[in-house]
Every structure is written in structure tokens, then in C-alpha cells.
Symmetry: C2
Subunit: 367 residues, 2 copies
Amino acid sequence: MLATPQFAHWDEPLTLSSGAVLRAYDLAFETYGTLNADRSNAVLICHALNASHHVAGTYPDDPDNRGWWDNMVGPGKPVDTDKFFVIGVNNLGSCFGSSGPTTTNPDTGKVWGADFPLVTVEDWVDSHARLLDRLGIQSLAAVMGGSLGGMQALCWAIRYPQRVRHALVIAAAPNLSAQNIAFNEVARQAIMSDPAFHGGHFAEKSTIPRDGLTVARMIGHITYISDDQMESKFGRGLREGLKFSFAPEFQIESYLRYQGEKFSEYYDANTYLRVTKALDYFDPARATNGDLAAALSPAQAKFLVVSFTTDWRFSPARSREIVTALLDGNKDVAYAEVNAPHGHDAFLLDNPQYHAVVRRFLQRVAA
Amino acid sequence: MLATPQFAHWDEPLTLSSGAVLRAYDLAFETYGTLNADRSNAVLICHALNASHHVAGTYPDDPDNRGWWDNMVGPGKPVDTDKFFVIGVNNLGSCFGSSGPTTTNPDTGKVWGADFPLVTVEDWVDSHARLLDRLGIQSLAAVMGGSLGGMQALCWAIRYPQRVRHALVIAAAPNLSAQNIAFNEVARQAIMSDPAFHGGHFAEKSTIPRDGLTVARMIGHITYISDDQMESKFGRGLREGLKFSFAPEFQIESYLRYQGEKFSEYYDANTYLRVTKALDYFDPARATNGDLAAALSPAQAKFLVVSFTTDWRFSPARSREIVTALLDGNKDVAYAEVNAPHGHDAFLLDNPQYHAVVRRFLQRVAA
């Protein structure tokens, strides 16, 4: 399947949760499959931390650049593009095409950098709703995402109840725990204390806070993988025997450094800060004094909630909080706790049980 | 109880696990209680990452500087200094008095800094054995420690079986898991990538890699506390409402930054690197092809192994590995899994169940 990035521009200002106003902005998106005549078969895919609008397929001129959820989305796949019109959209504040710290501030003609406002899950959902307007889609057959993407799906169901018929909330949580916030904060500190960060204005200095980003990603990566998975993949395996030096000696060290360094080459530091803040802020029950069922009460969608047994970032217990709150509000919800050794990253992987659950749910949506 | 730091100097070279030789070195230590006539009532306390020889009591001129295990060690306390002669000793490579990166290299007359060799748990035990020789103590009534200190106690029992009658191995593990090593490696990267680190030669530059140390400590601190404890202490509590800024907004953020910054003011970066490496290297079963029971087979001590239910750094399962290996070798071992909400840090806290277990064990030792 071939993908084509598209861009849409808005001149209508967007007021963000913070009160800041984006005077004009762009969204990058891709679509797969065909919108049916009554415009009822659209599925919106929401992305997590470091992904983008490139959900599935490859580009004609870049055949190795496969979409981040290509095992899930495509012809005959669980999200079947023979039946659904699938939309992937890059979040505001990201660094992959939509307006964000790496794009140009229309008011100054300079790169936004640190001046790009903080954005929230609600802001993303609002901006994506405008994309649906632009595409002539009143109501989504389904909105779907994993991790931070799952939070967006949850937010959609609350914020635009009439526009969401089904919501797939995968490997998510109703909010971040203190420990989740703690990990994010350490990652941010690593970035912000890198002298090359220059308070976020590193583009003007022609530098990149690569060391800070590397450490930030290493921290994050630890939380994406289960303890057991890390143990079975690397254990205490050495690269070449004990060297008594600070060069990587254990395989897990070189693996993590590689992951961190690779990330630091393509991801924007200001984006990282904003995305982790959006995660920290997400808390639909804040508006209802901590009552998640009350927060979810506007939702009209049918839900599928999926968690993974070894996910310790957003554990099954956190998904069950969502399920319980939905049941308390007499919502229609199915829940699957998938056996997977991989930890949080399982939502991106090709797990037969997981894919079968999503496939069956969406087959009923299509029917 | 008043404490008096003491210092001992050695001119006999010490060959380290790495093959490097310390030509001369000092150890800082304190003792509490009185050595009995047959020199049979000595208890050696081994310290963990950021502690020292100052185990109990206060200094006459610094009454607020209480020993790190003062709730455990003292007259009438679980480690009863009315019965035992208790020794606290600062590990080589530390920054609190024993030879280490912050002391003077006798060969150059300059601060060791990055040139201080890497040390292992075995090296510490060897150097502490020499301290016992110096004190005229042939055999320990008990060796005891928590976390990295518990690993030293375990090592003592293996390496000097005739000199250890009892070993208390608390909140420890037979080795670090891949995830444990991963957290250490991220902390090291944070330090080493701080431009103020200067490859460890920061003293010569009159700088301190404070930002790197801060991030390193923040990472460590997350792993010392249980998820639940962090949640009940901080949860999603805000300092002053949402500000949409990168200044600390959540209470957990300011708490972690405070812990990190405080640590960066007194702890040496080169020491941090070496202590985390000593943790990574510790693996008594490496010499026996992974067979921990075989590694422990020389031990003659009676063991008490203690773990804490919510410790996710060195979980009860890791302590049970030690217990199982000891039982497989027909060793004398008691095991307590203490209910505690605090996570790894519980070994430092005044938990009645925990202290009662230690007290009873040592009462039998004294009898």
C-alpha cells in the first residue's frame, strides 16, 4: 500500500487549553482506503509520543519508510482499509509536518522553537475535529489509538460524543500516575539541562541538545519494555567480557545508548517536552473532581479497551479503571487484557490475540 | 550516642578485581560499643550507594549529622551496641573519607578524579577484611547491610567463610537485572554527557557536573520508592494549579528536583559512576556458570535474608533466589518478607516488623 502525505492549512485561530491562541496552523495527514458515499466509514488513528500521520504503507520514493502501525492498518488487516477510510494525522506540536516547534511562526517568520505554545490532548482533538470538517466527515465509525493515542481516543468520545460511534482505547490510562510524571520530568530535566538546549532556542544557535534527548529517550525506553522482556532479550549478557571501563560493557547498555542516540537524530527536543507535558496534563476526571465515570458520562461511543499483561507504564489496572468507570456509567464496553511479554510496546507489535480482538471489534463496526 | 570518625592507612598494595593495584589507601571508619575480651562480638555494617562509615550516633560538634542507620544501630536498638562492637566503614571509591576519586593520588600528589580505578564489591570486602585484621578481629559475629550493603554481606560470606558467623542480607539481589543495569546506565550517561564532567577531570577545571548528577539522582530516586508510595505521597497533586510551563507544576516534580539538586551538592560524580558499576558487576554466580547455590557453597554463616513487599528495585523474588540457593546448599537461612509500602527505601526506615526480625536474629547471635 502506498501512502501520500497531505497538508491542510487553517487560518481560523485555534484557542488552546492554556489560553494561548494559534493564529494559523497546518496539519499533516494521510488517508488510506476510500470514504464511502454516506461518509460513514472513517476511522481516525491517533498517534503516541514519537509517531506521526504516517500510520501505514510506504512512500513510492522511500519504500523502507513503513507506517508505524502498518501491521494493524491496511487491506485485510485488523483495521481493514478495504472497508474503512482510515485517517492518520500528526499532532500539533510534533516535528513531523504539522505546526510545531520546528515549523515557522507566521507572526515572526522564524522557527517557533521554544515559543510554540504547550498543547494538550484536548487541543489535538479539537484540531483533528476541524480536519474531519474539512474532509466532510461528520461522524467517525471509530477513533483508535495506543498509549497517548488511546488517551486521545478517550478524549474524543467525551469531547465530541456525537461524532464518535466507536472508540478503541489501547494501552492507555485515565491519567498519569505520580511515577509516570516522575519519569517524564527526569527526561525533561535531561533535555533542559543540556547546555545545547539554550532554553529551547537551539535552532537559532544551530545546535541540537542531542545528549539530553539521548538520556530522555533511554529513560523512556526502559518504561516501554517489561522487566522480563529486557531480561530475556539481554539479561546480563556482555558484549566482550568485563572491561572495567565506562564504555558499554553489558548488551543492555549498548542497546539503550543506540536507541537514545538514534532518537536524538530525528526527534525535536521542544516537541519531546510538549508531548510529555500533554501526557502529564491528561486527566479527564479533573473537571469532575476525580470522578471518571462522571467525566465519561457524555460519551455515546461503544468502547473497546485493551491492555497488556506486562505493561508497567500503563498497567492493566489503569485500563480497568477506565472500564469500571464506563460500566458505572452504563456504557457499552468490551475489555481485553492481552497476554504479551513485551510491556507497553506490545500495542505496536503483531500479537495474534490482540489483533484478533481488534479485528473482531471492527468487523462488527463495519457490519 | 556520640560517634568518632577514625582513619586507617595501608601501604601494602591492594590488587583490585580489575587488575589495577592501589599502592596505598585509607579507610574511614567508626565503631560503636565495646569489643569483648575474646574479640567475638564484632558486627560489620556495609553501606549502600550514598551512605558512609557514619552509621549511627552524632558528632559532638555536629549534632544534626545523625548516622544513616541510627534507627537500627545503638544502645538497645536491633543492632544493640550494648552487646555488639559495631563497625561502619566507608567503601573505597566513595567520597566520604576513604580513598576515592576526591582524595589525593599518592603517586601524583593530585586529586585522583577519573584516574581512581573501578572497584568491585569483592574489592571492598577485601579491604574491609584488612581493617578487621588491623582491629584484631578474626571473625565477625555478623556482617550486615541493605541493598548494595546486603550484596557485600553476601560476598563476605562467600569470600571469607571462616570469618563470618552470621550474615544479614537485606533488600538485596544476587545480581542486577537488565532493567537495574539500564537505570544505572542512564544515570551514568546523564553524568558523563554533562559538559562540566570533563571526562571525570572536573576537579582540575574547578567545575562540578551538577546537572548530570541531579538527573542521575532523580532517576535513582524513582526506583527507590514504590509506585504506590509515590502515589499516596504526591499523586497528581499540583503546587499552584496548572501553569502550562516547564517549571515544576506537579508536587512530584518539585520533590524529585529537590532530591536531585540536594544530592548534587554533596556527592561526587566519579564516585557515582564507580558505585553503579560495582552494582552492575556484582554477580557471585558468574564464577560458577550462573549456579548461585554453587557460588554460595563455601559459606559457613547462618543467614537472615529480608525483603520488602513493595521493593521493585530488588524485589522479594530476587531475595528468594538467594534463599532458594542457600537452601539448595543446605545452608542455615531464615527469610522475612516484610510488609512495607515504601519500596526499596524501606530498609532504611523504622518498620516495627522489620526491626523485630533483625532484633530477634541478633539476640540469638549474641546468646
